[in-house]
Structure formats: structure tokens, C-alpha cells
Assembly symmetry: C2
DNA sequence: AATCTTAAGTAACAATTATTACAAACCAAA
DNA sequence: TTTGGTTTGTAATAATTGTTACTTAAGATT
């Protein structure tokens, strides 16, 4: 019997749900912390799953009715302006929720945010009403949400730092290292064009800077592929 | 008898505290919504006030022990990097709390954030323990905090937009209009150097762009003063 | 009024990033 | 192997922003 933080357990329950575990099995596993009422309630929730590959999944034009909770894979969150320019804000990893969606759900603001799955990902959508309900009644859920806010906050601060204080070559190199870490491989499969869009600049600029990095022996370039040395 | 949202009332109580209102008067005013226990608790809190003028107030190097709640005036929140470069992130107005501080308090992250009062401001510092306590036990406080997060979130998104998608001249003009709105006057009292620091650029650049704006009849320049037309 | 300090204006130049246009290389399918 | 589409490399040039160095102007102080 291993100890997890409450919200992680709550999260585990979702995963089990997703894997179609039997209710009895679930209860046996988790009732030592969460009471039956809570489990029952979770079972009631109309969750649905989505499999995503490399495609737009959330285009927030009208207020959302569900909050995504990422089970597996990772999703990048992009900001978009009126002219269609884009900028990567942060990556969502498994076990995380998108605070941006919370903001959209609860507030009236219509935010232009795009979420793109970089590899196959699975997520559960939680209805907003449940969301609000749990926020009031379940302290473990509350902590999960508060911690999410804080993580996102820190990451947004970092994004601001990057934009404000770093030059394009540094931003590029950092971005490469981040992607490498995220996909757990020193070889990244991307084309220059994609990087350019994430960092909101042009392909030519990225190619130029990548060439420089290669000359500096920091990376090795091939078609559709960048290896970090 | 006027209706306010719960957290606003809570906030009003703070203001009253600050104004040294008699406890009896407070209870008479607010107990129709908040029970006596809560009021009692608020009275127990070790609040203290600070008066600030144009000076650094919070330099977050070690975890904070108190959360500021702004009663009057306004405070600008700046991001700082290792080399001492700065960038304005957002303005705090009366009735707001600094979510950045929450992040610092609750998490372990040591953030480099500077808060500067642009005019005389008053704030109350709330001990972190109380903070956490209320979060669990008082739904009106909880909503206040969640709403704060959301407001800040939106504002940080806007900052990112400005940095990523706007050129310096646009950012400058927007900044001028914001300041004008904040101080409720079409005439802004600043020197070019200060603006340059807020937008993280050099004085010469700002002077140049301001001159352009003046030529375009959008503003009128004098020493230490900019008038928006 | 003369002097001093600070703020703002200006010019010349450097660095960074953006844009355009085209050539070369790579890969897959015919 | 040839073709065609996509990706990358490169050069030339423009636009934006940053830097340095100096001048001019405004306002405060003596």
C-alpha cells in the first residue's frame, strides 16, 4: 500500500474508470481514503474519452462545458491572435488539467487558445457543474485545482521571461531541450516550419539559427529531425 | 442595505478594520450574512497595514509569510531576471490580491517579482496560515481567491500577447492608455526612462517612438508629462 | 540671472529579426 | 530511374530595435 496525495488518488480513480475497472475493485482499492459517496459520485459523472493525434482538439470560441483532464500523452497549449499568429505557451503533461479551460469555463472571457496533441493522447472531460460542485465539497479536488493554477502560473511567468529577456537563439535552444525532455529522447522529430510557428517567427529565421547551433556542435540536423548533442 | 458578493463583504470588513470601526458597528452591518464566528475570527487575525509611496515593497527572495490585500491605491507588479532586467506584468488595483504572492507562499518556488506602489497605497497583510484555513472553511473567501487567479491569468495572457504579437510602438501606446485609465487622467506624469524600464527597452527607443506618436497627433509631450489626445 | 542637475532630442551606427526569392537536397511514389 | 512534392539552405535586403555619444531644453537652486 503506497501513499499518494489525495488528488492523485482521485486521479487514479479516473484512470481506472478509463480502463474499465470493475467498481468493486475500485472500491476495494480506494475506500480506505475516499468514502463511498465520493466514489459513487465519480461514477455518476458523464465522462467521455477522446483519442487525439496531432490535431486541433479545443478551439475555444464559446464557453466550454467540460474541463479536460489529461490521462496520457501530452498537449501543447498555444495562444492565437486575431491575425492567426501563434505562440506556444506551455505543455500539458499526463495528470494535469488545463487551467486555461478553467478560466474560460468560469469566467465570461472568450479566450483564443488552441490545444494541439503532439502524440496520441487520452483525456477525460469533466462537466463544469461537477467541477464547481467538487470545488466546494471535496478538499482534495480543491487542492488539485489550486495546485494546477500555481503550476500554470509559474509556467506562464517563464513564458513571459522567455519572451521578454531571451533572444531567439536562446529561446530556440531551450525549446529544443524542452521537447527532447518531453518526448524522452535526444532526437526530435519536427520540421523547421513547426518550430517557427511555436516560437512565432519565420522558418528562415529558425533554419538560420539551427545552422548556427549545428556549427557550435550543440545539435545535429537532418531532414525532419534534430538531434541534441 | 445594499447587496454585495460575499467576498466583497469580507473585504469590506477588512476596510472597516483598517478604518478602526468599532466591532459592534461591524457586527451590526455584516452579521446578516456572515455569522459571528467568522467575524470573530477575522478580528483575531494579526493584520497590519503599510503605507507605501513609490518604492519597492515586496522583494521575494524567501518564501512569504503574508499575503497582501490592496485596500487603496495601485501597485505594479514587475518581473525581474538575474541581470536585473525588468518587465511590467500587470497592475494591482484596490480590492485585489496578488496571486503571485499566493504562488510564492504555497509553492516552494522562489520567484523574482517586484511590487512597486505608483501612488500612496494601503494594504493589509494576511498571514498564510489564516489564508489556508479560510480556503478550506469559507466558501466566499475561496471564490475570492479563485476569481483572483482567473483575473491574473487573463492579465498574464494579455501580457504574453503584448510581448509576442505587438511591436514596441503599439505596446507603448497601449501602456500609456492603461496608465491614463489607472490614474483616471489623460495626463500622465512620468519620465521616458521609467516607461523604458516598464517595457524593458531603452530610453532612447521610447523617446523616439513617443516623438512619432506626437507627430501622429496622438499625444502631447512635455518634460515629465505626457498628455493623451 | 547664472549655475547645476535632470530629462529629452537627435544622429549615427550595430545587432537582431523579418521578408522575399530561389536553389539544393531529400524522400516517396509512379 | 524519373517525377513531384516537401523540406532545408542561402543570399540579399528591409525593418525593427538596441547602443553610444552628444546636444539641447527645462526646471530648480543659489
Amino acid at each position: 500500500m503506497f501513499l499518494l496525495k489525495d488528488y492523485q488518488i482521485l486521479f487514479k480513480i479516473y484512470i481506472s474508470l478509463f480502463l474499465n475497472m470493475k467498481r468493486e475493485l475500485l472500491e476495494e482499492r480506494f475506500d480506505y481514503i475516499l468514502d463511498n459517496n465520493l466514489i459513487a459520485e465519480i461514477f455518476e459523472v458523464g465522462t467521455f474519452k477522446k483519442y487525439l493525434t496531432n490535431d486541433i482538439i479545443i478551439d475555444i470560441d464559446q464557453p466550454l462545458t467540460h474541463i479536460p483532464l489529461l490521462l496520457d500523452g501530452n498537449i501543447k497549449i498555444l495562444r492565437e491572435d486575431k491575425e492567426g499568429n501563434e505562440l506556444l505557451i506551455y505543455f500539458l503533461e499526463a495528470g494535469e488539467t488545463c487551467t486555461m479551460s478553467l478560466t474560460c469555463c468560469m469566467g465570461t472571457t472568450k479566450s483564443k487558445i488552441r490545444a494541439v496533441a503532439e502524440k496520441d493522447s487520452t483525456l477525460i472531460m469533466i462537466p463544469v457543474q461537477k467541477m464547481q460542485n467538487w470545488l466546494d465539497n471535496n478538499s482534495s479536488w480543491r487542492n488539485f485545482i489550486l495546485e494546477s493554477y500555481q503550476t500554470r502560473f509559474t509556467e506562464m511567468l517563464e513564458t513571459i521571461d522567455n519572451l521578454a529577456f531571451m533572444k531567439m537563439d536562446e529561446r530556440l535552444y531551450k525549446h529544443l531541450k524542452e521537447k527532447s525532455k518531453l518526448h524522452d529522447s535526444s532526437t526530435i522529430i519536427v520540421k523547421h516550419q513547426d518550430i517557427a510557428e511555436d516560437l512565432h517567427t519565420s522558418r528562415v529565421v529558425i533554419s538560420r539559427l539551427l545552422k548556427q547551433l549545428e556549427n557550435d556542435k550543440k545539435i545535429k540536423l537532418s531532414r525532419n529531425k534534430i538531434e541534441i548533442l
